[in-house]
Amino acid sequence: MRAVSLARPDDAAGWRSAARALAQAGVPASDVGWTVAGEGGDLFAEEALPAPTANSRLTVPKPFLGLVDAVICHSDPERFALLYAMLLKLQDNRRALEDRADPLLKRLEVMRKAVGRDIHKMRAFVRFREVEGHDGSERFAAWFEPDHHIVRANAPFFQRRFAAMTWSILTPELCAHWDGAGLSFSEGAVKADAPGGDPVEETWKTYYASIFNPARVKVKAMTAEMPRKYWKNMPETALVPGLIAGARERELAMVERSRQALPAEPRPREAADMAMTKIGSWEQLAEEAQRRHGEEQGNAGTQLVFGEGRRDADLMFVGEQPGDQEDRAGRPFVGPAGQLFDQALGRAGIDRAETYVTNAVKRFKFEQRGKRRIHSKPGAQEIEAYRWWIEAERGLVAPDLTVALGATAARALLGKTVTISKTRGTALELPGGGRGLVTVHPSYLLRIPDKGKADEEMHRFVEDLETARKLAA
């Protein structure tokens, strides 16, 4: 059995040089006893430590050094032996740190985590109190009780933050001091050595009590992050029981005070309600549109795109919904599909200015992807919500024929889903009265990759438009 005595509980350098020598000599983990000077131990050295061999280099992956620095601060007396066992494992397999399911590594990781948490909580919960400095300068001192040997490792944090102050952090095991020029450490202290209070604490407690919201008490969430073991050294925690006890009363009192007759939330609009409204004029239509759809949310920054064209047209076209460009322009059918539509109208001998063009849904629905607004197909809900509008437009324009461009428009006009291929090109009776015709949406033509097929479909589309022209004449 070999015995190693380290200078301090967090003596990472001592552990490293001993472990290096032992590993180079091939000493198995079970043959080494680790102690800290002054902590006692029942191990007797039977053999001296092997002398470190200078030339045979022992290498470990870098992350292991970080693991050592953290775990060495843990309070578990077995930490030195466990780290040594891990070191030997790494000599067999340099990538052993990747095997996260390994029980030894897992145990070390748990220890590392505990040390990390202790360090973090010390940074959070140390409470400095001002003490009289020798020369009238600002001097601060704090009392803290960490779970692990972290004071030395953690002191530089306080140095980086409070370099212009002089301060001491007293703990039972080790005290850290900063005098404005250098860090120093001294033996452990007792709580009575630390200052008993600070006038600013009353102000701090005022803040703590005021920032607490009595309408949302979550004690578990508080104690998970601020365990009770820390409370005794934090001035504000004395207020906690009183705050919790008074919370429900305060909340109920607030609710009681404001109990009055309330205007109800606007009722969710129902489809039936929509169809009822009788629209008698274009002004009324504009008003009603603003009232119903002016404040819609979900697609921020979009506008309502109204139909346009001759208000006594014989031929009315209904598309799906405005796209990105239509939304920007505030006009229907001006984007790529709109241009194709104009072409097709021309070939069918229809003057767009003589028709009325609108959409089944009047607002651009999209999903934001980065900078682009990607068209998102309107759902049954949206189509239903806007049906009153289409009906009102048909009532005001009173066209001879209404052409549905695509499935969305067909659904809006017919009140049910139909298959385009089965219904296209022949006149239909519309449920609200009047005649209708179904064909494809011009954007469908844009999506056909094959040139020949696209031309063929364009031809069919123009044919449908010609049929429409004849029916409306």
């Binding site: 370099a163 005022t206 919790i244 404001s258 999903e367």
Partner: protein
């Protein structure tokens, strides 16, 4: 009226600030005061110096400069028509409070907001003055979060960004109709315009820094926003879509949700009852799923019923139960994005699984070492010695994985 002393003002102006959920102090550039001048440091990760019994972290001194306001937003305790006591800090008082709290290690810095007095520009000037004083006169290197006023001059907002680590503008309510009803004087379009301007300024200065190292840092912790949940009729689905849009359009660091809570002297337009706090929590979870777990907004929403996320189980579990055909996932073979879908596997556990399985065929014991709760994971995975053949089909799977009804809020007596 008798003069208020600083403590009385603090009582009023901290109380007035507590409805802002954010208290984050992370994500900014690294600084310290090792040069012996000034005070403070920031090291990337924020620190919560205390927790209030509402479970919220106290990281910053979060106060209003004044709670007087010319606006009359119904949900706000500080609205013009409210009967709360009014107070106003001087810039000097805020600076002094911040520094004396900071030196005692109570806080990471300052989160300063304000009611609107006189004009937007005047108010913004006052906020900027506090930040300037802290940074320039006292060399304060801690964290500063400034709330910016939507209508303030671009130049003032730019100055705010030069002194502050983070700036924020609240969208307040998830829907435009809600904003119109509850905050009639606020203009959604102007709020968004201000966010777009801020994004532009952050991008510009970032570009400048690429070219000239000496270019000043501008709001290194970015911008965030907050919306109130449960004061209007918006469903979770609406809120999630809205948040996604905000993240994408303005590249926000965070969208905070604040469950509406009854306020003293409330306006009659508000609901009397608070929404369950769990709702806010579920929204945050869904936010996480989208930001770190590769869920799309529509996938998260598909786990909801009538647009509302379930309150009794988390959204990831809800998704897994609804789309059970995706499970079990083989932890020894599945790609990262599928592992991330397994309820109970976090990003760290997934990283550990991917790393370990290069060295062993994972057995149930191994998985137990890599995860927090094996029981939660088990029905959704298979591995070397485990396959949940009977479990995933069991109709009462929901009951098996559902957490026992926990007491969420604790009142003594």
């Amino acid at each position: 009226m008798a003069q208020l002393d600083t403590r009385q003002k603090l009582e009023i102006l901290a109380d007035a600030a507590k409805y802002d959920a954010s208290c984050a102090s992370s994500g900014t550039s690294k600084r310290n005061s090792l040069d012996g001048k000034g005070i403070g440091s920031t090291e990337g990760m924020g620190i919560c110096h205390a927790y209030a019994p509402d479970g919220r972290c106290i990281s910053l001194l979060k106060i209003l400069l004044t709670n007087s306001c010319i606006f009359d937003c119904h949900y706000c305790i500080n609205r013009k028509s409210s009967n709360v006591r009014r107070a106003r800090f001087t810039a000097e008082e805020v600076v002094h409070l911040t520094l004396s709290f900071y030196k005692r290690n109570y806080i990471e810095g300052l989160f300063l907001s304000s009611g609107i007095i006189r004009s937007s520009n005047y108010t913004m000037e006052q906020l900027v003055e506090v930040a300037r004083e802290l940074r320039e006169t006292h060399d304060f290197r801690g964290y500063i979060h400034l709330k910016t006023i939507p209508d303030a001059d671009e130049e003032l907002v730019r100055q705010a960004g030069l002194y502050a680590d983070r700036v924020s503008i609240n969208v307040e309510l998830p829907t435009v109709s809600g904003l119109k009803r509850l905050a009639p004087e606020k203009d959604g379009r102007r709020i968004e315009g201000a966010m777009a301007d801020m994004k532009g300024a952050i991008d510009d200065l970032k570009d400048a820094r690429k070219k000239y190292r000496s270019a000043p840092k501008f709001a290194p912790a970015g911008q965030s926003t907050q919306m109130i949940v449960g004061a209007d009729a918006a469903k979770d689905g609406d809120i999630i879509m809205r948040a996604r849009t905000l993240y994408d359009r303005f590249r926000l660091r965070r969208v905070y949700y604040s469950a509406f809570s009854p306020i003293p002297d409330a306006s009659a337009v508000l609901p009397l009852q608070r929404p369950p706090l769990m709702r806010e929590h579920r929204l945050y979870q869904s936010d996480w799923l989208m930001r770190f777990y590769g869920f799309t907004p529509s996938e998260v929403i598909s786990a909801s019923t009538d647009g509302m996320l379930p309150l009794d189980i988390d959204p990831k579990l809800a998704w897994a139960l609804k789309f059970r055909e995706n499970f079990p996932v083989d932890v020894n073979r599945a790609p990262r994005d599928m592992l991330l879908r397994v309820p109970g596997l976090g990003t760290k556990a997934v990283a550990a699984i991917l790393s370990s399985r290069r060295w062993r065929r994972l057995r149930l014991d191994d998985v137990a070492r890599l995860t927090v709760s094996l029981k939660k994971v088990q029905p959704f995975i298979c591995c070397e010695d485990w396959s949940p053949r009977t479990l995933t089909d069991k109709s009462d799977l929901t009951a098996w994985v559902k957490p026992k009804r926990e007491q969420l809020e604790l009142f003594p007596g």
